[in-house]
Symmetry: C2
Subunit: 296 residues, 2 copies
Amino acid sequence: MAVIECIPNVSEGRRLDVIDACTAAIVATGAHLLDVKPDATHNRTVFTFAGAPAAVEAGAIALFDTALAHIDLRHHHGEHPRLGAVDVTPFVPIEGATMADCVAIARRVGETVAARHQLPVYLYEEAATSPARRNLEDIRRGEFEGLAAKMQKPEWAPDFGPAAPHASAGASVVGARMPLIAYNINLATNRLDVAKKIATAIRQSSGGLRFVKAMGLELADRGIVQVSMNLTNYEKTPIFRVFEMVKREAERYGVSILESEIVGLIPSAALTSAAAWYLQVEGFSDGQVLENKLRQ
Amino acid sequence: MAVIECIPNVSEGRRLDVIDACTAAIVATGAHLLDVKPDATHNRTVFTFAGAPAAVEAGAIALFDTALAHIDLRHHHGEHPRLGAVDVTPFVPIEGATMADCVAIARRVGETVAARHQLPVYLYEEAATSPARRNLEDIRRGEFEGLAAKMQKPEWAPDFGPAAPHASAGASVVGARMPLIAYNINLATNRLDVAKKIATAIRQSSGGLRFVKAMGLELADRGIVQVSMNLTNYEKTPIFRVFEMVKREAERYGVSILESEIVGLIPSAALTSAAAWYLQVEGFSDGQVLENKLRQ
């Protein structure tokens, strides 16, 4: 039984009736709703749902139908950058499904909603059709307000749909990516410079590990500092390697790790692979996890 | 959705038609067959199946019906000690089920098969009705051949069924226990004395950890030695604590751990708790594992 996750970000974080309508549209297709996180300041809601590929695909399409009927970006303001009413929709392989499956779903969903709503759609990350479109930030630069001008450039012709923005819904970004793990490590010190130096050492952007985003910040109420991270591919940059690297860098400054924190959900395999590494288990296979075997 | 596992040991390891009939009886109730391991030398087969409590309970009762129709211990010989045609039947909580649920199932199965087959049944481990009956070895001592004499003693009156052996099927032991993890640690040395000293240090019987059985043995073909273990309660004596204790004891002799090995299946929680310990995750809950959340 394959399971795929979908985490659409919708440009509405204030009107609860609209958010409820979006939730209802997703659930009606048989997908399993995991989380709905509205943010009034960002004026944006993150939905998380998962299930069999067909249900998740149908849920995403139904969400576009509902969101586009209710959201008009010409009257939308919020802190978070956005390009479309349904801003970004990633599909994520969880179990019994490959990245290729998620790319195929992203393309079908993109093609369907583009045709149905005359909506320009860009494919991103693993579903991108060129390296210049892998990064969400590059596609979204200029936002809704700059979209008409941006789309006049040939290199920003959409992957599906018309070569001009949808009047009220802008454009949408659809794609496939690995599950993201939000992981923080708290240090037994109040030295913010140490947290910042460690973040710089471990993150890709400044020379560190390929699939780590990191920053150092202060937890003022606790008198400690934190290395706050997103791990964007736990198979290639596993959580245990990140932990050990932070630990070693901290030692350089005479600092210990106080504790770590997994924010939200984490795929089982990210933890079982850490256990297998620390316990030096040779020849371990996910099929040895009793629960996985039961579900084969 | 609760899942319970059952691992009956049946006194037949040679006649494949009988083993197949037992397998068919289990599967017909809707339980999920995980493994069938016949052993001709022991003349004994270990069945492993799991599923919803009702299916597993029905599967165990169906197995008794089939095994008792085909097995006559008066003509049975094998290396492994045995008391009955269906020798021992433990029920194990896997997820969404408690030990109390498994004890209740063990009692119902024991009562049912005792009444249906006029079979004496002893309850053991967590289902035992007195401390003297917790250990399988104590109940089984004297085996099938000594059973009639043993049962004349009032302290060996069965928990269910008649106070004398079944002519062909002897008696059966039914109960509830935690999942057992078969875990081996290979040492980067050929010194058997070191493996034996470590086994002695860590196992309960000689003063070590409460839920560890261990012995040191030689892997002659590889020129190394192994600490071979059964972990009988991974919640109370977790796998990471055992690993770290073996590692520390080995250091005392200048020996490193080469690798470890999980034999067969392991519950997911045994690995995720190890990951959480090594990564120093504060406030980790099993509900954060994405797959668990999906199945709630």
